[in-house]
């Protein structure tokens, strides 16, 4: 694949048209700078995006985000929607972590008043946010309590003092998918996850303290409580052992059916 095969839509948007390969059902839309794209072309992520575009039942385009890199059949950073009844569920698209998420936490802490305390902040975050694969969180739940977490999601967190109504309203699906059924999850997956509530995880999970340098949409920033010169915190976590364990069972089923 070459950049010349892509159609440039804007400075940060590109498209792989369906003419690139006969079996593509939809185009691929990429979000990246030219500089990023030149790095991305070095691995197989664009080929994987094209492969994804051949899946049955796709709705709209396959979308790939700026963090795209080679994944498990589907590029990491890739997004696609498929529709019942002709669309497929793609384990490769989901990957090995389910329900990982990223949140941006605004603050009313101005950087200029906090910059002497940044090292202390980093030390405290490291101390109070358990990180590392398998590392336990501060809570010790029974399997019954974990079922409540799995079923109620962020509502469980709110009931137990770890979240507010405002947090839920700013979370996809208010932090809970309708019809969630913890009975469908293996005991093994639950065992892996029950000590990990409130832990960060490892790999590409992170907590990052940022300073807002520039606002591109003042109205949107104000609505979200984000202010220039103030601290924000980005958090990427989720899935953990329960998610990884839950993912494995459908892959085993799909692989055996595919043979």
């Amino acid at each position: 694949m070459n950049i010349k095969d892509l159609i440039q839509i804007s400075d940060y948007e590109w498209e792989i048209p369906t003419s690139v390969r006969d079996d593509m059902r939809v185009p691929v839309r990429l979000f990246a700078s030219r500089e990023l794209l030149e790095q991305i072309i070095g691995d197989k992520s664009l080929d994987q995006a094209i492969n994804a575009a051949t899946l049955p039942g796709l709705v709209g385009r396959v979308i790939v985000m700026p963090d795209m890199h080679q994944g498990y059949g589907f590029p990491i950073g890739g997004v696609a929607a498929t529709e019942f009844p002709h669309g497929v569920v793609s384990p490769g698209a989901i990957g090995y972590d389910i329900n990982c998420g990223v949140r941006l936490l605004g603050s009313n802490i101005e950087f200029k008043s906090a910059h002497n305390e940044i090292n202390t902040l980093a030390t405290l975050l490291n101390k109070y946010c358990p990180s590392g694969v398998g590392k336990a969180g501060p809570l010790r739940l029974t399997l019954k309590e974990l079922d409540q977490v799995l079923r109620d999601g962020s509502r469980w967190a709110m009931k137990n003092g770890y979240a507010t109504e405002a947090d839920l309203s700013r979370t996809e699906e208010d932090g809970c998918l309708q019809g969630a059924n913890p009975d469908k999850i293996s005991e093994r997956a639950k065992e892996r996850g029950r000590a990990q509530i409130g832990s960060l995880g490892a790999g590409n999970h992170f907590i990052e303290v940022d300073v807002v340098e520039e606002l591109f949409d003042q109205n949107a920033a104000s609505a979200m409580g984000i202010h220039k010169g103030y601290l924000t915190v980005q958090i990427h976590c989720g899935s953990r052992g329960a998610g990884s364990g839950t993912r494995s069972a459908p892959i085993t089923f799909s692989s055996s059916k595919a043979r």
Binding site: Y72, D97, G132, V133, G134, R192, G241, R247, S248, R259
Partner: protein
């Protein structure tokens, strides 16, 4: 040329290893050793523990993933790593392949970077001039 072994191979975002051995049981054992090595596992000396692991799967590739997943679970949940393997394969009543492994190991003293899962990505156990060979991608 080493009769059996493993080596790390490049991977964009996770870890991958190539494993080879003269027979299936040794291939599975080498894959397990590879996990310990890649994760930088160091065990407590002088303490030994034994476990019996048994699992079934529709094919040998799935069985390898299931076996490695069991070891990853034991590392994560019980802080135990295993380096001695007595492995046997049979057929289960439902026609699936079964692995029975007597594991010997010890509590973990230190682990450099733990592994989340063994994946099916591009996994194929093939016959080569080294016997049997497979490339295993590990989610980290």
């Amino acid at each position: 040329m080493k009769v059996k072994g493993f080596e790390e191979i490049p991977h964009a975002a996770d870890w991958a290893m190539r494993v080879w051995a003269g027979d299936l049981a040794s291939l599975f054992a080498e894959a397990a050793q590879g996990i310990n090595k890649l994760a930088g596992v160091k065990v407590v000396e002088g303490v030994k523990t034994k476990r019996l692991s048994q699992t079934e799967a529709p094919d040998y590739e799935s069985l390898l993933v299931a076996f490695l997943s069991e070891l990853i679970f034991l590392i994560e949940q019980e802080n135990l790593a295993f380096s001695g393997f007595d492995i046997h394969f049979t057929k289960a009543v439902n026609g699936e392949y079964r692995i029975t492994a007597n594991l010997e190991g010890a509590p973990i003293q230190f682990i450099g970077k733990a592994i989340k899962a063994a994946t099916y990505h591009n996994l194929k156990i093939s016959k080569t001039d080294r016997g049997l060979e497979a490339e295993v991608v590990l989610d980290v």
